[in-house]
């Protein structure tokens, strides 16, 4: 194999830093969107449209070049644990979740970037270098989560940096700092994973049997994510892919198929020029063989 994806993180110079991440515990998200605002303010992310969508309280719609935190709102006629919703003769629950770039262990955006603009930082995060990016847009369809986008105004790719500029100062990212319920927790990834396991057990015990972790498993298709979640329903309900796989996992096989096709093309041309296939006439002068 021409390359080994498993090395991508282990080989990174970390300058003694541990890999950091987000644990977004959606069970205590109250949908205040403070994270969206804090992110916009700190990172100077431009306005992304002021539309009324009718999708519950969500007018942000999804992550893009100009939206780095997105709070999803899902209304369901299903019970939340053993809580009485008190809205007449029906069950009701309102799920909220703040979505963000997953800072994948095997990040497709980074793999396919042809300029080296996207890179792995010493904190194990994935960041775009705006001054290097030439706006080819390849990272956009490569991301299995639909996170990264190409910004209209600057022509270059943009996404969450996990506040790369705050980390050296010992500050946590703006969204985690502002989250009033600690739904967004920032820290050492290994520690967050342990905390998430404990939290999952707690929430399940309290009656939320549908709770599950998303992105915490280092053996999943993207090698685990740096930003992972505690969800109360299937990932697709929140607009997340249920089983994302980094596209470059199949790249060695893609290259092999391309190689065979290229050789076949040359052989086909040779056969057409020298061979007697098909209608097999003409070529009067200088036929070799």
């Amino acid at each position: 194999m021409a390359f080994d994806l498993d090395h991508s993180l282990a080989e990174q110079p970390t300058d003694g830093h541990r890999r950091v991440g987000f644990f977004t515990d959606t069970s205590i998200c109250i949908g205040c969107k403070a994270c969206e605002v804090a992110c916009k303010e700190w990172n100077d992310v431009p306005e992304d449209g002021l539309d009324f969508t009718g999708m519950s309280y969500d007018n942000t719609v999804g992550l893009s070049a100009d939206t780095w935190r997105h709070v999803a709102f899902i209304e369901q006629r299903r019970p939340l644990g053993h809580q009485e919703p008190g809205v007449g003769e029906m069950d009701f629950r309102w799920l909220m979740a703040s979505d963000v770039c997953k800072h994948c262990t095997h990040a497709a955006c980074l793999d396919v970037c042809p300029t080296g603009s996207l890179f792995r930082t010493e904190y194990g995060t994935v960041v775009v270098q705006e001054d290097v990016c030439n706006g080819c847009g390849y990272c956009v369809p490569a991301c299995p989560f639909g996170v990264i986008g190409k910004r209209e105004t600057t022509g270059v790719a943009a996404k969450c940096t996990m506040c790369y500029d705050r980390l050296p100062a010992g500050e946590q990212p703006a969204c985690a700092k502002t989250c009033p319920t600690d739904s967004i927790q920032f820290g050492d990834l290994d520690e967050l994973r342990e905390r998430a396991d404990r939290r999952l057990a707690q929430v399940r015990e309290a009656g939320m049997t549908s709770a599950r972790l998303y992105g915490h498993d280092p053996d999943d298709g993207v090698g685990g994510t740096g930003a992972f979640f505690l969800l109360l329903d299937e990932p697709e309900v929140y607009g997340l892919p249920p089983d994302p796989v980094v596209t470059t996992k199949d790249l060695p096989s893609m290259w092999r198929h391309v190689g065979v096709a290229a050789v076949a093309l040359l052989a086909g041309v040779a056969a057409a020029a020298w061979g007697r296939t098909g209608s097999g006439t003409t070529g009067p002068r200088g036929r070799i063989r």
Partner: protein, 331 residues
């Protein structure tokens, strides 16, 4: 234990913090829970972000790159078998298509002036990076081959460049399959086994079409045969891909452009191999049909991919099936 439940009694001793457990307090009145299957998506919104590529630029490049690469290969074969006119038109056509390719590629960039940033790195994980280097190797050779042929100077150099352009040209014509497959776009990614052959066939048909269009009848034999071969490979690869992909292949199977492309390619190839052997006009018409067919196929593949990215079901359902299968194997 702390709670988040709204309390009518107003007591606030228990502070809600990150240990708060929703749904843990209160008593729900007994009622039936409707058994509904979970939603497929978030308000029907796509999971993936749409590729920011413009169809005329990128689908246009898929076509022009294929035409350039395969034409260079045809030119070298024609030159080595003593068909100077076919060689010349193919070389000039390849150079023109290469020019168009570069225009499309650079025009589609958000920051065209930073085009050369592509040459900062070589990354085998990025087909765009590999493709840039293939083009960097191919371009000068294709240019040299055409220039020496037209000027009649340095024929030895021209021949060497022509062979070089043929070899690298085969890469130019096929790497674009990896380029679009190496994405999360369901129809493109999942088709990675057949796409290189589909693109090689489509490129061969286009190069054959150009030869039919521009070369005299007595030299166009290889072009006719290449067109026939290319069109056949293109159709077989497309059919196989559409079958193998199952539900994800739906946008491909539905694509009017792809059907049109196949029809034009096959008609052009057959007309070229029959009437095109005697009549110059018929040969030209067949060549034009082949070129149009190849372009339609590329735009069809491009559009079908975008369609598969924009509908969450093509992302979610195969992944769900994959998970279910993995779970079934575990138990």
């Amino acid at each position: 234990m702390s709670q988040t439940d709204v309390r009518m009694d107003g007591s606030a001793e228990t502070r809600a913090d990150r240990e708060a457990t929703p749904g843990s307090a209160g008593r729900r009145r007994e009622r039936l829970v409707p058994q509904s299957s979970p939603a497929d998506s978030y308000y029907g919104r796509p999971v993936l972000n749409e590729p920011p590529w413009h169809a005329p630029d990128i689908a246009g490049y898929l076509f022009l790159g294929g035409l350039a690469g395969a034409s260079s290969a045809l030119a070298a074969a024609a030159e080595l078998t003593g068909r100077p006119t076919l060689a010349r038109v193919s070389k000039v056509g390849a150079l023109g298509a290469l020019g168009g390719s570069l225009y499309c590629l650079i025009h589609d960039l958000g920051r065209p002036e930073r085009f050369l940033n592509m040459l900062r790195v070589f990354k085998v994980t990025s087909p765009m990076s590999v493709g840039t280097w293939i083009l960097t190797a191919y371009g000068p050779q294709a240019g040299c081959a055409a220039a020496t042929d037209l000027s009649g100077r340095f024929p030895g150099l021209g021949r060497a460049a022509g062979v070089g352009a043929a070899v690298t040209g085969a890469g130019v014509a096929t790497y674009t399959a990896a380029l679009i497959s190496d994405t999360a776009v369901p129809a493109w990614h999942d088709g990675y086994r057949e796409l290189p052959f589909l693109f090689a066939g489509s490129a061969a048909a286009a190069a054959g079409g150009l030869g039919l269009l521009a070369a005299p009848l007595d030299e166009a034999g290889p072009a006719r045969r290449l067109a026939l071969l290319g069109a056949a490979v293109e159709c077989v690869a497309a059919t196989r891909m559409e079958r193998r992909l199952g539900p994800v292949g739906e946008p491909l199977r539905r694509s009017v452009l792809m059907r049109l492309g196949e029809a034009l390619s096959l008609a052009g190839a057959l007309a070229g191999a029959s009437m095109g052997r005697r009549s110059r006009v018929a040969a030209m018409a067949a060549g034009a049909a082949l070129l149009a067919g190849s372009a339609c196929t590329r735009f069809g593949v491009f559009r079908a991919g975008i369609e598969s990215a924009n509908d969450p079901k093509y992302t979610v359902q195969p992944q769900r099936r994959r998970l279910a299968k993995a779970r079934a194997e575990l138990t």
